[in-house]
C-alpha cells in the first residue's frame, strides 16, 4: 500500500520511510503513539497530503488519482468530518448522493450497525466525540465498501462502543471479505481483532507482521518473587524455553518464555529447590510489549 513514504514540513521530517502492505480481507492495524505519523500516513495514502518521495497506492491506483478506483472505499479519518450544520442522517445522505449509491447498505442499516440509530436526527454539533466517530464509521460503511480506512475509530468511545466496533470490523472481514485498515494507539484492544499490524514511530515503520507471529516471537513474561535469588536464577537459566533472565529491584526475577511454555513443572522445580518462592506471575504477550521492544530496538539501531 505504501512504499518508503516520506514527507517533510519545513525542516521537520514527518514521515521518513513508512512501508505497509495490506492484503485483501485482512483487518490491519496501523499502530503507534500519538504523533507517530499514523494519520499523516493515511492522509498521504488517500492523496489528501502531498508527499516528498515514495509511493502510495490503493488497489494499484496512485494516491493522487484515487477517483479512478472503481471499488467502493469507506473512509473515516481524524477529525471525523461530520458537517455540524446537518443532522447525522443528512450527513450520511449527502455521502450516499456523492457515491451515487442506489443499492448496497443504506443510511439506516449503516447507522444501526454502529448503534447510532437513535441519534439519526441529531445535529452534528449535538453529538459527543465518540458518537461523531461512530457516525463517521457509519458513513464509511455505506454501500458495502471493499476497503475501509479508519483513522482512530476507537478514540473517545466507551468500552462498550469499542467492543461493538471491533466485533463489527472482524465480522465485516470474515463474512463479507472487507479489508479493514484501522489506525489506533489502543494496542491492547486491537490485538484481538487484527490479523496483521504495522507499527510506526517517528515516521518510520519499526515492525510489521502477523499478530500471532509477533506475539509468539515476543513470548510471555515471567515474574518471580523469592528469597534465594541466586539459586532461582540458576534454575531458570538451565530450564529449556526460559530466556532473558534478569534480576530486578528487591527480590524479583524476570524472564521471557515462549507462549507455548508449560509453567507448572517450573513452579514445581522452584518449590522443590526451596528458593522461598512467594509470587509467580505470568504475563501473556501483548502488542504493547512488542511495540515497546520494537521502538527500543529501533532507537538503538
Amino acid at each position: 500500500m505504501t512504499r518508503s513514504l516520506s514527507l517533510r514540513f519545513g525542516k521537520m521530517d514527518i514521515l521518513k520511510g513508512v512501508n505497509l502492505q495490506v492484503e485483501q480481507g485482512q483487518v490491519y492495524g496501523l499502530l503507534g503513539r500519538n504523533g507517530a505519523g499514523k494519520t499523516t500516513t493515511l492522509r498521504c495514502a488517500l492523496g489528501f497530503q502531498p508527499f516528498r518521495s515514495g509511493s502510495a497506492e490503493i488497489f494499484g491506483v496512485p494516491a493522487q488519482e484515487l477517483h479512478l478506483v472503481s471499488q467502493q472505499l469507506g473512509v473515516a479519518l481524524d477529525p471525523p468530518g461530520m458537517d455540524d450544520t446537518l443532522t447525522v442522517r443528512q450527513n450520511l445522505e449527502l455521502a450516499r448522493i456523492r457515491s451515487g449509491l442506489r443499492a448496497g447498505r443504506g443510511v439506516d442499516e449503516a447507522l444501526a450497525l454502529v448503534g447510532l440509530s437513535h441519534r439519526a436526527d441529531n445535529a452534528g454539533d449535538k453529538l459527543s466525540h465518540g458518537q461523531s466517530r461512530r457516525a463517521a464509521v457509519a458513513r464509511a460503511l455505506l454501500g458495502r465498501p471493499s476497503l475501509l480506512l479508519l483513522d482512530e475509530p476507537l478514540s473517545g468511545l466507551d468500552p462498550e462502543g469499542v467492543e461493538v466496533l471491533l466485533a463489527l470490523f472482524r465480522r465485516l472481514a470474515d463474512e463479507e471479505g472487507v479489508t479493514v485498515l484501522l489506525s489506533s494507539h489502543h494496542l491492547r484492544e486491537v490485538q484481538h481483532v487484527c490479523d496483521r499490524v504495522g507499527m510506526i514511530e517517528q515516521g518510520v515503520t519499526v515492525l510489521e507482521g502477523r499478530v500471532d507471529s509477533l506475539l509468539q516471537e515476543a513470548g510471555d513474561g515471567l515474574r518471580l518473587e523469592c528469597k534465594d535469588l541466586d539459586r532461582a536464577e540458576a534454575l531458570l537459566e538451565t530450564t529449556t524455553g526460559v530466556r532473558d533472565v534478569q534480576r530486578q529491584k528487591g527480590s524479583v526475577l524476570r524472564a521471557q518464555v515462549d507462549s507455548t511454555f508449560e509453567a507448572n513443572p517450573l513452579i514445581h522445580a522452584l518449590v522443590q529447590a526451596d528458593v522461598g518462592l512467594s509470587d509467580f506471575t505470568r504475563d501473556r504477550a501483548n502488542l504493547v510489549d512488542v511495540f515497546q521492544r520494537a521502538v527500543a530496538k529501533a532507537v538503538q539501531a
Partner: protein, 283 residues
C-alpha cells in the same frame, strides 16, 4: 453517473439542507420588504404633515420603489453571498468534511467545478429572490404608472421600464463573478473569516480607487455590482426613476456596455484559478 454530476447533486442537496442558505434567502427578501415598507411609512407620515402626495413625488411610484428595494436586497445578497460561499470550504476543510467526496470516486477538479456551479446557483437564487421580493412588495404597496413630480408628468412609464429592466439583467454577471471570486478565495485560504474579509476588501477596492482608475474602473467587475458598485446600473436606474436630474447621464451607456462584458472573463479567470489552487491543497 459521472463524478461531476454526483458531486453537483450533493452540492444542491447541501444548499437545500443548510440553514445558513435558507436564512440568507429570508434576509434578502426581508431587506427588500423593509426598504419599501419603510419608504411607504415615511411617505404617509410626510403626507399627513402636508408634504404632498403621490402626484408630488416621483418616488411615490412602483418603479422607483422597485429599483430601490431591489438594490437594497441585492446589497445584502452580495454581502451574504461572499460570507456564505467564502466561509464554507475552509470550515469544511477544518472539520475534515471536505475529504469525504474524494473517497467517493470524485476528483478534485469535479468537486471544485461543482462547488463553483453551486456558488453560481446561490448567486442566481439570491438575485431572483431580491428582484421577486422587491417586485411583490412594491406592487402591493405602490401603484405603477407615469412618474409625476410636483404635480407634472416627469417621465412616461415606458421611458423608465427599459433602464430598470436592463439594470436588473446587468446586476447578474457581477454577482456571478463575486460568487466565483468567493469560491476561489475559499479554495486558496485556510480560514473562512480571512477568505470572506479578503473578498470584501477586493470588492471595495474599485470604489476606493474609483477616481484614480477613471474610465477603466468599469472593467473591474466589482465596480458594477448592483449593491456595492460605484457604477451600479441599478443605483443609476433608481435615481433616474426617482427624478434625480443627474442620474443616468448619456455617457453612462458606455459604462453599461463595459459592465455587461467585463464580468465574464473575470468569472472564467476566477474559476480556472480556483481549480488550479485546489488541486494541491492539503486536506
Amino acid at each position: 453517473m459521472t463524478g461531476l454530476w454526483r458531486s453537483f447533486s450533493a452540492e444542491l442537496y447541501l444548499l437545500r439542507q443548510r440553514k445558513g442558505f435558507r436564512i440568507g434567502i429570508l434576509l434578502v427578501a426581508f431587506a427588500a420588504i423593509l426598504r419599501i415598507g419603510v419608504a411607504l411609512l415615511l411617505f404617509r407620515l410626510g403626507e399627513s404633515a402636508g408634504n404632498g402626495g403621490p402626484e408630488d413625488h416621483a418616488t411615490w411610484n412602483f418603479w422607483p420603489q422597485l429599483a430601490h428595494g431591489a438594490r437594497t436586497a441585492l446589497f445584502f445578497a452580495e454581502l451574504l453571498l461572499l460570507g456564505l460561499v467564502a466561509g464554507a470550504l475552509p470550515r469544511e476543510v477544518d472539520s475534515g468534511a471536505a475529504r469525504d467526496p474524494f473517497s467517493r470516486r470524485i476528483s478534485r477538479s469535479a468537486f471544485m467545478t461543482s462547488r463553483i456551479l453551486s456558488s453560481l446557483c446561490v448567486a442566481i437564487l439570491f438575485w431572483l429572490v431580491a428582484l421577486g421580493a422587491a417586485w411583490l412588495t412594491a406592487s402591493l404597496l405602490f401603484e405603477a404608472g407615469d412618474i409625476m413630480e410636483g404635480g407634472d408628468l416627469y417621465l412616461e412609464e415606458s421611458e423608465v421600464t427599459g433602464p430598470i429592466y436592463a439594470a436588473f439583467w446587468h446586476a447578474l454577471p457581477p454577482m456571478l463573478a463575486l460568487a466565483t471570486l468567493a469560491t476561489l478565495l475559499s479554495a486558496a485560504l485556510r480560514r473562512g473569516v480571512v477568505a470572506a474579509g479578503v473578498c470584501f476588501g477586493l470588492i471595495l477596492l474599485p470604489g476606493i480607487f474609483h477616481d484614480t482608475l477613471g474610465s477603466i474602473a468599469p472593467w473591474f467587475f466589482a465596480d458594477t455590482l448592483a449593491g456595492f458598485g460605484e457604477d451600479s446600473f441599478l443605483a443609476e436606474a433608481a435615481g433616474f426613476a426617482s427624478a434625480i436630474a443627474q442620474a443616468y447621464p448619456a455617457d453612462f451607456d458606455a459604462i453599461v456596455e463595459i459592465g455587461w462584458i467585463a464580468s465574464w472573463p473575470a468569472i472564467l479567470c476566477f474559476a480556472l484559478l480556483a481549480l488550479l489552487t485546489f488541486r494541491r491543497r492539503p486536506l
